[in-house]
Every structure is written in C-alpha cells, then in structure tokens.
C-alpha cells in the first residue's frame, strides 16, 4: 500500500511543474499590458510606464520572471495582486470558502440526484424512466451554464419570487463572517432568519453548478451498472435467492462505483471551471469570479496564483481518488 501511495504521489510533481509553466506562458501570451490597462485613455508617460513595470517585476526577461515566481512559490509566497496590492494567498483564502461551500453543495446535489437516477435507469433499462433520465442528462450536459443560470434566475427568482437573485446573504443581515462559510457563520450568528437566507441563496447556484456533474454521474452510473449487472457474481447472488435490493446495492453498486468515483474526482475540475461562470452570474464572491476579473485586469500574480492553487487542489483530489480505488478495489492496488 505504501509503495502504491508513493508511486501515485510521485506523479504529482511533474503535474505541478507543468501547471506553473503552462499558466505562466499562457498569461504572457495573452496580449495586453497591465500598466496600459490601468492608465486607460489618459495614457502614461514612458518613464512612469517603465517605473511601474519595474515595480511589478515585469521589466525582467520572462525566464527570470518565471524562476523568481517559482522561487516564491517554493517559499510559499505567491506574490501580491497588482490591483489590490494584497498577498495572493490572503486574497485566495478569503474567497475560497465561498467557492468550496458552493462546490460541496453542488456536488451533494449532483450525487444525491445523479447516483440514484443512474442506478434506477440502469436497473430499469429501456423503460420510460431510463429514457427520461438519459434525455435529461444529455440536455443538462449540453446546457450553457450562463444561459441556464439566467433562465433559472428569471423563472424562480423574478417570476415566481421563490429564491433570491444573487449573492450569499440578504443585504438586511449584517453578520460577521469569521469562517467564510456562510451556512456556519449564519448558524453562529444570533440573527434570526439569516441561516434560512443563506440556504435560499445557495439553492439556485448549487443546482446550476451541479447540473453538468449530475448529468455525467447519472450517465456513468447507468452504464457502469449495466455492465456489472451482467457479471457472473450478480447472477450468483440472485441465484442464492438474495433480495434484488441487496443484489443491487451491495453486489452491483459497490463494483459499479469505481468508475463513478473516478468521474466524481474528475468533476472537481469541472466544478472549478463551472464556478467561474456560476459565480459571475450569481454574484457569488468566490475564487472563480476573482480569477475571471483578474484575467480582465491582467493581474498576473492573481491569475497565476489562483490557477496554481486550484490546480494543486484538483491534483490532490485526484490523488485521493486514486488512493480510494486501491481501498475499494484491492485488485488495482496489486496490479499497479
């Protein structure tokens, strides 16, 4: 097991170096000068322009900038934002709880709906339910998030008035956000109704962000179930006279879960990408929206740092998934 873990862990470093190199080069490939953008129509005199570039460290050759950046990263310093002049780590972790809270809720929604839907569709193959689930999941998977989000807002918030339009909490509640997790902070606050407001603000963004993972999970669970249900051990279990509930839940689902867990792991990346759009539509103050704004402002340290941290999280989530396989299915552990 330790050998398996170490082997998996050794894959992390090349991925990490790849991410830093890719983000750094992509940012510098995008046209646009952060100094010019700040000066706007007014323009800036060449001396001041050069001075500002030097202040930002952009006057050095690209390879020097890269190694400086990597040097900082290894020391745990991701630099300071060009715009707010605050350390990137501080900026990121102020906003990260909002993204995490939303992602967890979206994933819970996706798993709670997608997994049973996939199982039932697999078991009841060819039925109306199966066709409905497959049709809906294909639609969900193909749905542009931005349009889907706006549609949900217009219907549920503006037309029906059931949910708030955007944000994390009603403007009427003035609570201290100590943990950054609104559900926890509102529970801890003494303001009546704040928790309910936080929950109601989470509903639509979670559904919108969870739609694509839900569709993928449902489809993957269904096809995985179909494969497993054909296996000999399932037939044996049935022949033993076990209840169909027990056959499906214990014998089939456990084995069918392996590819599903892989997909759930991979969906973490999809959630982060989806968060950029979802957070923008719902004015959700998370890292997705922050990175998007940083790209528009050519705030290089914020883009590099933000993507690096997110990539690191995704790498570790996938490492966790790899290790989880080994626990669920010992064959993987031994063959690798």
């Amino acid at each position: 097991m330790i050998h398996f873990f170490l082997k998996r862990f050794s894959h992390v470093f090349p991925a990490f170096i790849g991410v830093t190199l890719l983000t750094f080069s992509l940012i510098h490939l995008i046209p646009g000068d952060p100094v010019e953008l700040r000066a706007g129509e007014r323009g800036i005199d060449p001396a001041r322009h050069a001075a500002m570039k030097a202040e930002m460290g952009l006057d050095k050759p690209l390879y020097v900038q890269y190694f400086r950046y990597i040097g900082g990263v290894l020391k745990g310093d991701l630099g300071k934002s060009f715009v707010t002049k605050k350390p990137i780590l501080e900026e990121f972790f102020t906003l990260f709880p909002a993204t995490l809270e939303l992602s967890i809720c979206a994933m819970i929604f996706a798993v709670l709906v997608g997994l049973p839907a996939g199982v039932i569709a697999g078991v009841k193959r060819g039925t109306v339910f199966d066709h409905t689930v497959m049709g809906a999941s294909l639609t969900g998977y193909s749905m542009p998030i931005f349009w889907w989000g706006l549609l949900m807002i217009l219907f549920f918030s503006v037309h029906l008035g059931w949910t708030p339009v955007s944000g994390r909490l009603s403007a009427l509640f003035w609570i201290d956000t100590d943990t950054g997790f609104m559900l926890i902070d509102t529970l801890r606050s003494s303001e009546p109704g704040a928790f309910k407001s936080a929950v109601s603000h989470l509903i639509l963004p979670s559904i919108v962000l969870g739609t694509i993972p839900l569709a993928v999970i449902a489809r993957m669970t269904r096809s995985s179930m179909l494969e497993v249900l054909k296996e000999d051990y399932v037939r044996t279990a049935k022949a033993k006279g076990l209840s169909s509930w027990r056959v499906i839940m214990v014998h089939a689902l456990r084995n069918a879960m392996i590819p599903v867990i892989t997909v759930i792991g991979l969906q973490t990346g999809v959630l982060m990408a989806g968060a950029i759009l979802t957070e923008t539509i719902f004015a959700w103050p998370g890292v997705g929206k922050w990175i998007l704004e940083s790209i528009n402002r050519r705030d290089y340290p914020a883009i590099q740092g933000g993507i690096l941290i997110i990539a690191t999280i995704i790498i570790f989530v996938n490492l966790g998934v790899d290790i989880l396989y080994g626990i669920i299915n010992p064959r993987i552990r031994y063959t690798s």
């Binding site: 995008i30 046209p31 646009g32 000068d33 952060p34 010019e36 953008l37 700040r38 000066a39 706007g40 129509e41 007014r42 323009g43 800036i44 005199d45 001041r48 500002m52 202040e55 300071k80 715009v83 707010t84 002049k85 900026e91 102020t94 906003l95 909002a98 706006l150 807002i153 217009l154 918030s157 503006v158 008035g161 708030p164 339009v165 955007s166 944000g167 994390r168 909490l169 009603s170 403007a171 009427l172 003035w174 201290d176 956000t177 923008t280 539509i281 719902f282 004015a283 103050p285 998370g286 929206k289 922050w290 704004e293 050519r298």
Partner: protein, 531 residues
Amino acid sequence: MKWRKFLSIAGFAALFCMLAVSVQAKTFVYCSEGSPEGFTPALYTSGTTFDATAKTIYDQLAMFERGGTKVLPGLATSWDVSADGKVYTFHLRKGVDFHTTKYFTPTRQFNADDVLFSFNRQFDKNHPYHKISGGSYEYFSGMSMGTLIKSIEKKDDYTVVFTLNKPESPFIANMAMAFASIHSAEYADNMMKAGTPEEFDQKPIGTGPFQFVSYQKDSAIRYKAFDKYWQGRAKIDKLVFSITPDASVRYAKLKAGECHLMPYPNPADIAAMKKDPNINLMEKEGLNVGYLAFNTKKVPFTKVKVRQALSMAINKQAIIDAVFQGAGKIAKNPIPPTIWSYNDKVKDYPYDIAKAKKLLAEAGYPNGFETDIWAMPVQRPYNPNARRMAEVIQEDWSKVGVKAKIISYEWGEYLKRSMNGEHSTVLLGWTGDNGDPDNFLAVLLGCDAVGSSNRAEWCYKPFDDLIMKAKQVSDIKERTKLYEKAQVIFKEQAPWVTIAHSIVFEPMSKKVVGYKIDPFGQHIFYGVDLK
C-alpha cells in the same frame, strides 16, 4: 409604588420607541458593478472604487454641487488665490468630526494636519506612508499634481497654503476629485505605531456622510450613516453595496426588489425598463465625448481639407440610431454641453457627400485614398459598440472614395499603439474628471499631450496658446471666452470628428427619492431617501 409603575411604563415606552426605530431603519441597497480595489481613493483610478470611498466615506476640500459640476466649499470654507495664480490659501472648516468606529476613536477634530497628511502621502516620496499599499498614485500623477505643486504648508491649524510652480486655474476643481480625499492623520499615526499601516487603507476613517462597517470581498460593503456629519446626518440609516457584476442580474435584482438602484444597465434592457411600472429610469447626458481622431502627423491627414471632408462624409445621426440606439446626442464640440464654456454657436459639419468630394478633390484626392479606422475592442460609456461605429463610418467614407480597413487590438495594446501614433484614424473618447474644460481641451488636444492622450497628435499653436492662457487666468468669464474661441479653432481645423455624447441611464426603485445623477458618473447617496 406609583413611581415604580411610572418607571416601568416609561421603560416600556422607551423600549417600544427603540424597537420602532430599529424596525424603521432605512437600508438602501445599491447593486454595484464591481469590487473596490481598496478604500484609499488616491491609490486607485476606477470609478467603482471612487463610488465606494470618495463620496461615501470621505470629503474633499472642495466639493462638486450634487448632480452638477459647480465647485462648492467642502472641508475648506473658502480659498484665496494670489494675484500671480500660484498660491492657493485654503481656510479650513471648524468642528468637523472623523468617524468613530470599532477600530478607531478620534481624539481631535479635522484640522490642517489631516490635509497635509493626505497630500504629502502622494506628493512627498519620503513620507512614511508614501510606499504603503503599493505606493502608486496614478490619478495624482495623471493630473500632473506632482510637477504642479511646489510646496504644501500649514499656516495654522485651520489654514493650508499650496504653492504651485505655475498658474493652474483648474486646481480648485482638482481639489474636489476623489484622489484629493481627506484622511485622518491621527488614525494614520496610530496604525503606523501599531505596525499595521496597510490596515489604514483597508479599514477607512473619514469625515464623510457614511462610515465604514465591513467589507466582504466581492460580496458586499456595509456602511452606516454618520451621526455627526457636518452637513447633517444622511436620510438613510444603512447603506449596502451589493456587488453584482452582471448587468442582467443587476436588473433581475432590481425587479425582485433586492436592490434600490443599479448602475450601467444593458442598452438592450432600456426599453423594458421604461415600461416597467415599478422602475424609475433617470437619464442624463454624460460628461463625455466619443470621437474619431485623425493622426494629423500622417499623410493625408496633415491636410485640413481632408479632415474637413471626412468629417462631412460621416452620417452622425445614423451612428446615434444604430450604435447608441438613441442613448446619445450628436457632439459638435470636444466638450460636452454640460460643461461651462460650451460654445453653442459653433456650427457642426453637415453630412454632405457632394461637398466632401469637392474638398477631397481640392486637397488632391479626387479618387479618395486608402486608410484605416481603429475600433476599440471594449464597450465604454462614450462608445457602446466601436466595431459597429467603425462599420458605419467605413460605409460612409466609401461613398467619397475612401477605402478604410477596420483594425482592432486588445484594449491595453490598442491604447499603447494609439498613444504611439501607429493609427491613421482612431475611435476613442473621454469622460471628464473634474468638470473643467481644461480637462478635455488641454488633456486631449494640447501640445503637451502629444504622444500620450492627444491621439490626433495635433499641436496647433493658435489653439494651444488659448488653452494655455486659460489655465493661467482665474476669472471664469475670461476663461470662458478663451475656451469658446478654442472650440471655434478646433472645429475649423477638425483634428477629430466629434461623434457623440452618451446618455447615462440609472434605473431605480420607485421608493428612491432625492437621487441625482452625477455628471462625473459617480454614485452619490448622501441626500437620498426611501419612501
């Protein structure tokens, strides 16, 4: 016993009153378009930051009239200007309190030390706060204040003297701008002593109508009315900036009653907003101008007749209809009509293809020529769709034989290349900073601005002499005459085609009363009430 009963009744009454007050607390929610970069306006340049700071938390020595461009006394009750126009003496207001918050309790009222601190931080490179929070004062340097100011001195606790290197009439208007906000020197000292000077820029203290309560990054900024505000307490009790970057979502929030006012609506939503019975759509001409600048250093735009001909070959009304969708007004002068000294007598070039052809022939181009039109890649208040505008102009010019190629770059690149004069003609515009004509005419068309904000690369001595003279005269009537003449010369020489002044729309809930659209595009909530 009776006393006890009386006291208990009085106690209940007091409690009831307190509850009633708390229930009635008026919370105004403004769906702002973005997050502030910080809370010290001098460090930043965006209007979003100024909205959240300059007119909410802070005051300036001079102030713009609410909803206008007239300069009124602010934290200075009056000022004297020396005969040579180089020495400005400000007499400061007495009895002005700074905010008392959880993190700072002032021990003294506003005085000259605070003015010195606020300006020296930007002006003096050795000031202990100069380098704090990045130490970049783009507006201060952009307005050439660093080279303009010679010294700032405290004469007594309530008198401050600014000595300039040269006369500069717009100086007073500059003192009303966001970068000139007045901070508490006492608070700055405390923060420095505590070893947390950066906090000074994140947890603001000012003398303005609202005091800062909290900021949740990218989510909301909360303020409460400052009880001891020198102009009287604000009518609303709490002010919330609910940060909502997407215009469609802002509109949805306004419709759902989640905010009272939103800035920058989508032009496509304007018609629906006008029809909505729950929305009050205010509109006002913006303090801006959208223009097409000819590169007057490049052939054939070195010839005045070519510039005049191409000015005549553009159907501006078609642009207003197609690009602004009615939310604009044809511009004939380089300054908007809301600015004093606007010369209404100036006659714009008519849309006249025949005359344009004749002028081109006279200039030696009977069959036209090939050129380019640079179109901005971004939407700006003075130009909602530069690409579309360029297409209309391209079509118009083709009628006089001028074949134009439309070119666009990424915004930063666009600004840089156009500043270097790489273009033949370029679409751009300007939004005023301080309501002074100098802020348009000198900044955009003066000889000093060639190579930077003067995209026409136009340095014409008779024009430049007038605007340079106007800078040195403090009498507004005399300045008006000079600027009026300058506008006539500008029109004759045609370094730009002045295209449009946009109309600013501010949709708000019908509950909002007393709101005035700020000509500078800022959003000011002092004086606003909810019914």
